[in-house]
Subunit: 391 residues, 2 copies
């Protein structure tokens, strides 16, 4: 429990850290230092003297510890969507005789859109999307890449990364795992699972801030053979030689593309200062305790809403989702009454369980408010029916 390390929205129980993590207490000062003492005083010299140029790999290693990645195998930059594109392209290029990217309907839409855009551009590649439970049966000799998000953004249903990676490898396919709802949510063992490629974002459980960069993992055994379709200069072996032709950097550094976002990375660094002190297994145990408590309290008080997350905590990420016909209005009512979760179309009310800054008391307060909103039908107010741009 490190609640004192965060600035939380005043008067609210914040169950939306799976969408945007809260502000780490030291982050604003850290970014202020980067701006005033580095950008302001050093200007261009900040790239060397303040170490900016090395941040994508330095922060990558600190994220790597949380996801079971080998040192040097993670680089930070771009957005998660761009990283998905880049890694699926890299994996496809390693299986040129195969033409299927396999994914599931529980994947985040942007991952599917990005893979589809790539497939369409390449012309002879096809994105095949099946139901999550059909994945294992669909892996076959035509599959080049198995592209999955480990934890379903709506339901919290968790894939078995090790088993599916093994199945993919037995069929000769490679894997791209999206860890958007895994990194900082539960133990991930990329190396242990034999994952080939992985990516994620840092603004959810990792608390890196709005628009914090993505990251890319390349298994060391592929690091010097994987090619990037996004041949940016900072993934070049010698960016400042300004050679006419592209030569990839060694290892995962080749997945760097353009100039990295130094201010976002300063905020992320402050967030990772907290993560450096966290034991992810202990965090996971706490997440399960809090999630079970939340499910029990909500289910006992609210017969109208149905758990859609797996009941087995081992099969679930660090979120709890319920289905309710009037979910959008109900979530707006909850927010108005001090409990922040979010809504995902068509009817899912989603609550992130983030033990770094949530206590049993927070869970009890939230469950109490949910019970009140549901039993008193407080959601049934026209004020809660109007949708805003981001929900």
């Amino acid at each position: 429990m490190m609640k004192e390390r965060f600035i939380l929205p005043d008067g609210l129980v914040y169950l939306d850290g799976n969408s945007l993590g809260p502000l780490p207490r030291g982050a604003a000062a850290r970014v202020g230092t980067t701006m005033e003492l580095e950008w302001g005083r050093l200007a261009i010299a900040g790239w060397n003297r303040a170490g900016w140029i090395g941040q994508p790999m330095a922060l990558g290693d600190r994220i790597g510890r949380l996801i079971g990645a080998e040192p040097g195998s993670v680089s930070v930059g771009d957005t998660l969507s761009v990283k998905v594109f880049q890694l699926v392209a890299a994996a496809l290029a390693m299986r040129p005789e195969r033409k299927v990217v396999l994914s599931d309907s529980g994947n985040f839409p942007s991952d599917l859109y990005m893979a589809d855009g790539l497939a369409e551009a390449l012309g002879d590649v096809q994105l095949v999307v099946v139901e999550p439970e059909e994945i294992a049966g669909r892996i076959g000799p035509d599959v080049a890449v198995l592209m999955l998000t480990e934890v379903d953004y709506r339901t919290g249903r968790k894939h078995d990364m090790a088993a599916l990676t093994r199945a993919a490898h037995e069929a000769g396919a490679l894997t791209v795992w999206d860890l958007a709802h895994s990194a900082g949510a539960l133990p991930v063992e990329l190396a242990g699972a034999g994952a080939d490629f992985a990516c994620g974002c840092t603004y959810k459980y990792l608390n890196g801030g709005p628009g914090a960069p993505g990251f890319a993992y390349v298994a060391p055994r592929h690091a010097d053979t994987a090619r990037t379709i996004l041949q940016g200069w900072l993934g070049h072996a010698e960016p400042f030689a300004f050679e006419p032709g592209y030569r990839p950097a060694a290892g995962a550094e080749r997945m760097r593309v353009g100039t990295p976002p130094i201010l976002q990375m300063a905020a992320l660094e402050a967030a990772l200062d907290i993560w450096d002190e966290v034991d992810v297994s202990e965090l996971r145990a706490r997440s399960i305790v809090l999630s079970e408590r939340f499910i029990a309290a909500v289910e006992s008080a609210c017969p109208d809403i149905a758990l859609v997350s797996p009941r087995d905590p081992e099969a679930r990420g660090s979120q709890v989702s319920f289905r309710f016909e009037h979910g959008y209005a109900a979530m707006q009512a909850l927010i108005a009454h001090g409990v922040v979760g979010d809504f995902r179309a068509p009817d899912i009310m989603r609550f992130g369980i983030t033990p770094l800054y949530l206590s049993e008391e927070d869970i009890d307060v939230a469950a109490g408010v949910i019970a009140k909103v549901m039993t008193e039908r407080l959601w049934d107010d026209p004020a809660y029916a109007t949708r805003s741009a981001v929900t």
Copy 2:
């Protein structure tokens, strides 16, 4: 002259705003507000209530004014390298029967690398690179896309955007202009020139800060037909409908990809507050006055270094470059003596002329230091020969 609006490195004449612009005076406070009052207090609600979600188009319009773009035709996000990839892919898709991307050897290497990575992935597309002066003669019926950086990053040589765009169109090709060294450096008239696509970065002349985002321009006549290969969810017509299939947003907004960097955009916004007050034609006139003064002073005192920028100011961007065999060491010596420019391999000493915060006096001081370093051979010291990561 708005020198008081910037925090400049203490005791230095900063002639490197073409690489990284200095810190605008209000930027740190702006980012602090975004972090503490928006991220901290609103958390997820910042996307709607603080207007984060609309920033890529709002800032795009403010940049658009500086580059002669129509309202709604510029979106901010990603890095310049990613935008190059995206726009070249979009243009190629509009000329499916043609297979050549034409560029020149004066283009920034990352642009060439990105186009080459795309061409290689597509298989049947070829990147053809000729000398800058050969471009006009090479435009022909096989060319799908003319991809050029308007101002050469080494020499400052400026292409004639209107003439080359016209030539490209006459040959049936489309244009992708990189404005890295144009936006905020000189008047650009994208609409006037009939440009099809353009992109740029915001950390150079625009002073958006280290790792500030890129931008993409799509001519309104193409806005609803151009397709993006990077089908990110925030370029979707309804991102929060989470539809299984991609439907592009209207206009240039479809070039958005993933979650935009809110902290970087807050800094950029503070920089654009200054730009909102600038008349780019007046700025250009001042840039020419300062550049001519600089060239005259350096040339008269330093016979050993040769101007490589065009002598005609109309054919030049807002930088002045000299060739010198010992350019790397000489630039290190200059920096040690208080004049910051930069070095570009193999032998180019580069000086950015940025009238927003440079006066005649600054130019005279810089020219005096250069004269001293050259005539006294102060560069001839082993301390200045060791190269660092970023130069």
